[in-house]
């Protein structure tokens, strides 16, 4: 018993230790994202997850992606979230009272089954036979990434630019002050927001006779 454990630990390389360290940070901070009741803290926890994953990327010799993960993901996207949280001043944490607790009896078992399925598949697959590629380090360099991006990934790269352009238009049209557009364009001032639909009507009798 002890032998096995000592054996296991004696076989560990520094990489193992780093991996476990960052994996624990990643999982812990991911849990924190879910557990925190304040969106702001959740966002900060997510930055930690991102960073831990970036570290994992380094372990996987994807240095360029690791940098992008920190700079773009953690540095820009999450900051955008934080910005919106600040803008809307969402201090109010969600209440502890979940009015729909019954639903979790569907969701939680499903999630467990899902994870068990993935776990089983990964275990059955015996992935450990996959030897690390000797070219892994070369594959993740900036040079190599750039080369592939402008050859094989040229089209996705261009398409991504379309995507971003569109996202800008979309975000703009949603977040812009509605009044300016509406009033100016139609000359109708302050149109009433339409009334909510009537409270649930009884479904009409099915007429089969």
């Amino acid at each position: 018993m002890f032998d096995a454990i000592t054996n296991y630990f004696s076989n560990l390389t520094p990489e193992h230790y780093f991996f476990f360290l960052f994996a624990i940070v990643a999982i812990a901070s991911a849990l924190e994202v879910v557990m925190q009741r304040s969106p702001l803290y959740s966002a900060v926890a997510l930055i930690f997850t991102m960073a831990a994953l970036a570290a994992n990327f380094v372990l996987l010799k994807a240095q360029f992606l690791a940098a992008i993960q920190i700079i773009v993901y953690a540095g820009a996207i999450i900051v955008l979230f934080v910005f919106v949280i600040m803008l809307l001043n969402v201090r109010a944490e969600e209440s502890r009272l979940d009015r729909f607790t019954a639903l979790r009896w569907i969701a939680a078992p499903s999630a467990i089954v899902l994870f068990a399925g993935a776990f089983a598949a990964i275990r059955f697959s015996n992935l450990d036979t996959l030897a690390p590629s000797p070219t892994a380090a070369a594959a993740g360099t900036t040079e190599r990434i750039a080369e592939v991006m402008f050859t094989k990934y040229l089209l996705p790269f261009e398409a991504a630019s379309v995507l971003i352009m569109m996202a800008i238009v979309g975000a703009l049209v949603l977040a812009a002050r509605a009044k300016e557009y509406d009033a100016e364009l139609s000359g109708i001032e302050n149109q009433e927001v339409p009334p909510k639909p009537e409270p649930e009507a009884q479904p009409e009798e099915v007429e089969v006779s």
Binding site: R99, F100, T101, A102, L103, R104, W105, I106, A107, P109, S110, A111, V113, L114, G117, A118, A120, A121, P203, V206, E207, V208, S209
Partner: protein, 695 residues
């Protein structure tokens, strides 16, 4: 016009009429509308006659010796080996149909120009009528099952539109309900038909009628006459599915319930669609694919049984109805049963012959009843009629012809066709055991008597006994049948008397009366023919011979082609004997009718008959109600996910004993959707892994 485009002309004339009326009809006066509507159908009729005569001059083709005119219109669907061109074909069977459909249709259109006078939506009515003619002709002339299906659905749609024509009318017998009922019941049959088409394509490799019949003919032997044969996916299955389709359209048990209700529509519609043409489409389909039926004796047996039972059942119901149109409606159902009985025993020719004669006399009777209804100011209750002979002499005379014809009075059209069916039924050997034929014959004979009785009752109540139209005592006015065809005010006011209808209505009556009287001479049964010294006297059946299959009345099953060569093989004595017997039946039935109803016209018959054997109630209780409950309460609540809150809640209640069910019933909740997606994902992943593990 050359022969190839002739058929196209037949179908497109009414379509053009419908389009013109639909687009511009609102601005036209009644005269122009009526003229366009009738003229286009008239053109079809003339073209049909030309086509018919052309067909007689065409050389028979193929081993079967079928004369055909072919008119390809456009290639409709071509996918791989599946081809369904939009082609029209005229062969003896369709030729006969086209001629009588356009002919009767033409007369009814003329009648309707008078009948519908002053109604709102005059042009709309004729637009639908023309559209109906177009669809009916597509149904008849289509060269393959899919084109037929187009017409099949199209006539259903037009029937729906026309039944619901008086849409403003509300109340217990709201026409909209009848329209819907007709539509939904028909849909049930259509599903079976659609599946049959696919099955046919799989088996025969084509859905062209010619090829389908060819395939059926090539089957070496008929399938065994067992229930199991239906499960084989062969001829029996196909035949049964097609017959289910036919029961929907032709109002047979168990799908007949819609037809009597369909009388809510205007009377010309009842005459054209629900008596003469559309409802016989089922018979047409069976005759069209008769080769398949011949190879499926078990299906034939079902056809004959359903036909016989429908004939008898509807006749009994007809005995006790008070609404003049309801009597005729049940009479139609009953006569349709007769036609299916004929098909079921293998006498397809006789069945089609009866379709034709029935079209004449039933259209006549319906139009006559329309004339009566109009003369009585939209009164349909026979208890309030009586003594109309004096006031409506032409209507009375023509209807009398129709009455005698349907009763099978000797030497009128109904006599020949009915007699032929009864004879063929008696001598059939479509079934392994000849006793079946005798039983069916017995039912048929009984039906014949009942037919004579209830038709005599109709005539007595309407025309002969004392005038009752100002009587106001005693009859249950709340009866549901009572007000089907009224527009607010109906019935005669005090001091009014019934009046004869205008010439536009009486003229078609007269023409139809002549047709109903002499129409039968194209099909004088052979026995009678021999008696007066004519060989091959049954012209209709000889004409149809090549295009319908033949279960020999004498000889082996599927002795196709052999029979044609030996028509003299008829047992003349037996046939004459049966003929004499059916004369007795007819006269006896009429006599009984007079005897009972002359003195006591308002005799009450058993309530169960008046209530139509309570079939509607049975359906309501056993089928419609459960389905409605299922879809409303169970499926809707359980399957629709927002209600999963409720469902889950119930479960959770049980688990944790939390009260307050209602607070979970809030729905539209995004998180419940997330939960469902998670659940679905878990099921999918789990299922895949289990499958992988099993393998």
């Amino acid at each position: 016009m050359n022969t190839t485009t002739l058929l196209g002309g037949i179908i497109f004339a009414p379509l053009i009429g419908a389009l013109v009326l639909g687009l511009f009809g609102k601005r036209m006066n009644e005269r122009t509308v009526g003229l366009i509507a009738s003229a286009t159908v008239g053109v079809s009729f003339v073209l049909a006659i030309i086509a018919f005569t052309t067909l007689l001059g065409v050389a028979p083709e193929g081993a079967e010796g079928i004369r055909r005119l072919h008119n390809p219109l456009f290639p409709w669907i071509e996918v791989g080996s599946f081809k369904a061109p939009f082609d029209l074909v005229l062969d003896p069977l369709s030729a006969l149909y086209v001629v009588f459909v356009t002919g009767v249709g033409f007369l009814i259109h003329i009648f309707a120009t008078g009948y519908m006078h002053g109604e709102g939506g005059y042009y709309r009515f004729f637009c639908y009528m023309n559209l109906f003619m177009f669809n009916m002709l597509v149904l008849i002339l289509g060269s393959n099952m899919l084109v037929m299906f187009v017409g099949w659905e199209g006539v259903g749609l037009c029937s729906y539109l026309l039944i619901g024509f008086y849409f403003q009318q509300q109340g217990p017998a709201f026409p909209n309900q009848s329209a819907k009922k007709a539509f939904i019941v028909n849909r049930i049959g259509d599903v079976a038909f659609a599946i049959a088409i696919m099955l046919v394509f799989m088996k025969a490799g084509s859905i062209e009628f010619a090829a389908v019949n060819e395939w059926a003919r090539s089957l070496t032997a008929a399938e065994p006459m067992t229930v199991a044969a239906f499960g084989l996916g062969g001829a029996s299955t196909i035949a049964l599915l097609m017959f289910i389709g036919a029961t929907g359209k032709s109002a047979q048990i168990p799908l007949f319930v819609w037809l009597p209700d369909a009388m809510a529509g205007p009377t010309p519609v009842s005459a054209l669609i629900h008596a003469a043409t559309m409802v016989t489409a089922g018979v047409y389909m069976v005759a069209r694919t008769s080769e398949v039926f011949v190879k499926a004796p078990s299906a034939m047996f079902v056809v004959a049984t359903i036909g016989a039972l429908t004939a008898l059942g509807a006749a009994t119901i007809g005995l006790a109805q008070w609404d003049i149109k309801k009597v005729l409606a049940y009479s139609t159902v009953s006569q349709l049963g007769y036609m299916f009985l004929a098909c079921g025993v293998g006498a397809f020719g006789a069945g089609v012959f009866h379709v034709v004669t029935h079209a004449f006399f039933k259209a006549l009777l319906f139009l006559g009843s329309g004339s009566v209804i109009l003369g009585m100011h939209h009164e349909q209750d026979m208890r309030k009629m009586g003594g109309l002979r004096k006031f409506m002499p032409i209507t009375h005379a023509t209807m009398a012809v129709g009455w005698l014809a349907i009763c099978g009075f000797p030497l009128l059209s109904g006599f020949f066709s009915k007699d032929e069916i009864l004879y063929q039924t008696f001598t059939t050997n479509a079934f392994a055991n000849p006793v079946f034929g005798k039983i069916f014959w017995g039912i048929g004979a009984l039906t014949a008597i009942l037919t004579a009785v209830y038709m005599t009752r109709l005539m007595v109540l309407t025309f002969w006994t004392k005038e009752r139209w100002h009587d106001d005592h005693g009859h249950d006015h709340g009866h549901a049948d009572h007000a089907d065809d009224g527009h607010g005010h109906h019935g005669l006011a005090k001091g009014e008397t019934p009046h004869e209808s205008p010439w536009s209505m009486t003229l078609p009556l007269i023409v139809l009366a002549i047709a109903a009287a002499v129409g039968g001479y194209v099909g004088v049964p052979n026995g009678l023919g021999h008696l007066v010294g004519i060989e091959n006297s049954n012209m209709v059946e000889h004409f149809l011979e090549p295009s319908v299959a033949h279960v020999g009345s004498h000889g082996a099953v599927a002795g196709h082609g052999v029979e044609a060569a030996a028509p003299v093989a008829h047992d003349a004595t037996l046939e004459l004997g049966l003929t004499a017997f059916s004369i007795l039946l007819a006269l006896g039935g009429i006599g009984v009718g007079f005897w009972i109803f002359r003195k006591n016209p308002l005799l009450k018959l058993p309530k169960i008959l008046e209530d139509k054997w309570r079939v509607d109630e049975l359906y309501e209780a056993t089928i419609i109600h459960p389905i409605r409950k299922l879809s409303e309460s169970i499926l809707w609540k359980a399957v629709d996910v927002r209600s999963i809150d409720g469902l889950v809640n119930a479960v959770a209640d049980g688990i944790r004993g939390l009260g307050g069910t209602m607070r979970y019933l809030q729905s539209g909740l995004t998180r419940s959707y997330v939960a469902v997606i998670l659940l679905g994902a878990a099921c999918l992943v789990g299922y895949f892994l289990v499958q992988g593990y099993v393998k």
